[in-house]
Symmetry: C2
Subunit: 247 residues, 2 copies
């Protein structure tokens, strides 16, 4: 190997390390935004919610920084094979993390519409779902940084659990709406909040697919596991004749 | 210019044409899926809805085909400057079109939960919003194919109109829920359908940003125009004392 090509390889490795650092930073920030948004929601902290909305800008800027770094590496280093897959993966992962940030922002926005009427039971279920999603985001970024396809597959498989929690929340929230028309507005926002968090889980699943492909060169087969059947769900109000008996 | 570099350039142009063809095909299919899903919804055609759900697979496959073509071009042609921006843009646009397809699939799924209780007024408003979104998708793909930043900017600016339609639909649907608890399940699905279509508009706006950057090298400044204020919306049920008077 000539001194010059060694130099090029070292420069490429340095740039890849820098890119990984940006992805790790962006992922960490997305996790924090999610956790903070749910915390502000549960505590009814409108001021904090506003800071979270403002904080989304940092994620948008990190995505642009990652995009620029990727384009620069493609132009100057012209990576091939596994290196090329890594660089393209970074671009895709940044786009998913940006979306996760958008959903956290939306959760924070909606929490302000809920300040007066927080149904603690549903909020508890939302917080539990959010913790699972947050763990999935953390794990899939570890999978990216460690080039660990098995870890990515694990996140991908566990999305079903999040979907099932969401379907349960969907049904419970519709029932809550039916109990009193005054519940309808807050419950609708809770429903969208739950959906946002479920979508963040989908984006973690997307990242898992990208990481798996990056490491193995093979796509995860057969479509992702699906536990969200809420799109088909029909929840009936209690019949007036049943006098408030069972659901 | 040597014969050999001419050959390389011609091969690159051919590949770029092929890539543009794939994007045009994928965009056309996404448009068709959206229009068909809304049509199946309005007509309560569950059989057609199922075909639309199955048809999403073709969009997923096209995205994979575009990804593979992009990675191949990056590895073999090593484009720089404007060419590199075009190729990276194709990757991002394909991801947005895939999401648009996912939303169309979800509209089709939900339409089957609505078969028995279709509120024609809301369905009409949804269909109008969908036509705007469809026109935006078509226009932004023309902007990509013609490298027309002005056309892309126009789509970007008009997303506000779609957001405003959605906010109106949000309020009307909540009011409809409050009128009768039996409306709650179908209205919730209508709300998510409307949200799905609004999100497709956001993805057309994303594509507009990608096209604008690809053509001009400059990012659209100042965050996108926002007409969707529904995240902050609170709709109150009629007071029982008002005896069913005005909204």
């Amino acid at each position: 190997m000539t001194g010059s090509s060694e130099h090029i390889i070292r420069a490429y490795d340095d740039e890849l390390q820098a890119l990984n650092g940006l992805i790790a930073r962006m992922g960490g920030l997305a996790e924090i935004q999610l956790a903070a948004a749910v915390d502000a929601l549960v505590k009814g902290d409108a001021e904090r919610a506003q800071r979270i909305v403002a904080g989304d800008r940092a994620l948008d800027e990190l995505e642009q920084e990652i995009d620029a770094a990727v384009v620069r590496m493609l132009a100057l280093r012209q990576p091939v094979a596994g290196d090329l897959r890594s660089v393209v993966a970074a671009l895709k992962i940044a786009a998913d993390l940006e979306r996760i940030g958008d959903y956290a922002k939306n959760v924070a926005k909606r929490s302000t519409a809920l300040a007066q009427s927080r149904q603690m039971e549903t909020l508890g279920a939302i917080a539990r779902m959010a913790r699972l999603v947050q763990a999935g985001i953390k794990q899939v970024l570890d999978a990216y940084l460690q080039r660990d396809a098995r870890l990515a597959l694990d996140v991908w498989e566990r999305d079903r659990e999040i979907d099932e929690m969401y379907t349960g929340l969907f049904r419970a929230t519709l029932t809550y709406m039916m109990e009193d028309p005054r519940n309808i507005t807050p419950a609708t926002h809770l429903l969208f909040i739950a959906k946002n968090i479920e979508r963040m889980g989908d984006h973690a699943t997307n990242i898992a697919e990208v990481v798996h492909f990056m490491v193995t060169g093979n796509r995860l087969e057969g479509g992702r596991p699906k536990g969200d059947t809420s799109s088909y769900a029909v929840v009936e109000p209690e019949s007036p004749r049943s006098g408030g008996e069972g659901r």
